[in-house]
Symmetry: C2
Subunit: 329 residues, 2 copies
DNA sequence: ATGAAAGCGCTAACAC
DNA sequence: GTGTTAGCGCTTTCAT
């Protein structure tokens, strides 16, 4: 900036003003400065600007990982959500800092805020640490979490309607005549827990009861999930349907069922969750609970912005719909 | 930091040294300072640190978008690549700034570097602006591009072996007895152009010639691509196979072929490109050219690091393989 | 309409 | 081992 000032024959203050479009500066001077900046490929140093202004336009998006498996990002739904957030942030003129933290230490995400790198945090999922997220919110960290609305929750969450989703899926299977519906998913995760609630409620409404033997708790991590399903299948009690807590899980289950000689949906009907981008193109096309991904990004961003402007951002639940395809017609 | 200094009864320099683990500072003092920082949720202000040190640990990852369609990020392959890069960057202790720029103005990506936000740029794809990328490289911008190796290229690119991929796909179809192989993809994009080169070469080696009437130029954007294929199909000259330049395109084509009463692979065999994460689960499972996504992220990051440490990073081509599945057995 | 100067939070000589 | 001080590049009073 000093260079430009020298070349333009003005002071740095004037250059600063010119570059920021201040009306106090002579139009001609402003043009000359702008021209110079362009020809020098000059851009305002944002570290300096942020330091001076004590603000920035960066939002941290945190995608936790499970340390044991050190899994790579792979779930198409999460990836699509990231894409959706990136678009929403771009639309609002914000930068997106994408990072991963250990799912056991979600509180590490505060670093991005404490160090002034980001003005707030968008956390993808609650994982097993509702408590840590509450602690962050208690510290006034601007935070919005993709996940379920839980009791005694201090932070703002946005998520699909997991209970309704679980009900829709289960009710659909019951209506098809299924009576023994297996549940696949790790209910330690709040979202899965809520989906199982919906599942249980739907069963109860049909005069049935959830059979714990029909529940398989497994991680979202594809390889581990696959192994767990493969171990479980041979010993599992009889069932005529599966409600899987993600489309990826549903796909794995279908593949293993087929490998063991069962047909989907003729022998076993399968319903997934998420309606990931390719769900309609799978073999068989998945019946699944649609979560509004595109809307999700915009909602997360909007809530964070609301919080930053002092409003109290309340948890929100987005409508989900059952999309019926061939895996459970 | 001043607060901590006061509370610890030392000067800010000592605090700075302590927080940075300098060995010059008394162990006891260091511990006291660290403790204080922890209890205050204090983190070094990175804007100030970056300003002072004239460096940072952030890499900009740029995913261009086509302005007309203002398309949202959706291609599973690109998303998977983003995930892979995020992991590689995390491993190396770098932050990832994910952003989107107009595909017609790739040079805007220089902003991130010029403004000191990032130490370098990872660009996803060359789009139609090899020239702009060359200009960026000429300006010494630390840059690595995911894409094809082109003649007269000043920048470092990393990409799948597109020519070999096109050959593998085409040769496979020829070996199946296909003789009229349609080509789907926009050859204005360098990667697609190279894939078409491979396709033409394979045809020539079999004593055949590429028929321009069998080529459909279309965008990667799913909805537009779908419409283009739908328009093209009824009028298209006879063909017995399709080589599509992405799995997404292949999937769209298959769906439309089926809708018009054709069977895949019995009537028309289809080969895709990318081997996106769910390619094996599609209906039918896709025969496709596998690009090494996980490796890709690590390679891109490694090349950028090499460049930053003064080495001359040369373009690299990663091996691809044909994965034979049901869409073209 | 423009300039001079202070200060954002930090680090690194340079003293001691 | 610790303190003093200058300065990174910017914005913004306060003068003029």
């Amino acid at each position: 900036m000093a260079d430009i000032a020298r070349l333009a024959g003005v002071s740095v203050s004037t250059v600063s003003r010119a570059l920021n479009g201040s009306s106090l500066v002579n139009a001609e001077t402003r043009e000359r400065v702008a021209e110079l900046a362009r020809s020098l490929n000059y851009s305002i140093n944002l570290s300096a600007q942020n330091l001076r202004l004590q603000k920035n336009r960066t939002v941290a998006v945190v995608l936790p990982f499970e340390a044991e498996s050190r899994q790579h990002i792979s779930d198409p739904f999460f990836l699509a959500l990231i894409g959706s957030i990136a678009d929403a942030l771009t639309d609002q003129g914000y930068d997106m800092l994408l990072s991963r933290v250990d799912a056991e230490h979600l509180d590490l995400a505060a670093q991005f805020y404490d160090s002034g790198k980001a003005i707030g945090v968008l956390m993808i999922g609650q994982w097993r640490h509702h408590d840590q997220l509450n602690a962050l919110a208690a510290r006034q960290l601007p935070l919005v979490v993709w996940g379920g609305a839980l009791p005694r929750q201090l932070y703002c969450s946005i998520g699909g309607d997991n209970i309704a989703g679980g009900q829709l899926a289960t009710t659909h299977l019951l209506a098809r005549g299924c009576r023994r519906i297996a549940f696949l998913g790790d209910a330690q995760l709040p979202e899965v827990w809520l989906r199982r609630e919906g599942y249980s409620q739907a069963l109860r409404q049909a005069g049935l009861q959830a059979d714990p033997a029909l529940e398989l708790a497994l991680s979202f991590e594809p390889a581990a999930a696959r192994a767990a399903i493969a171990r479980w299948l041979p010993a599992a009690p009889g069932f005529d349907a599966i409600f899987a807590c993600s489309d990826l899980l549903a796909l794995q289950a279908i593949q293993l069922l087929r490998a063991s000689g069962q047909r989907v949906p003729e022998d076993i009907a399968v319903v997934g969750f998420d309606d990931m981008p390719l769900a309609a193109y799978c073999d068989p096309p998945l019946t699944t609970v649609h979560q509004p991904v595109a809307e999700a990004g915009a909602e997360l961003v909007a809530s964070l912005m609301a919080q930053l402007s002092g409003e109290k951002a309340l948890p929100r639940t987005l409508d989900v719909q059952l999309v019926v395809r061939a895996s459970a017609p």
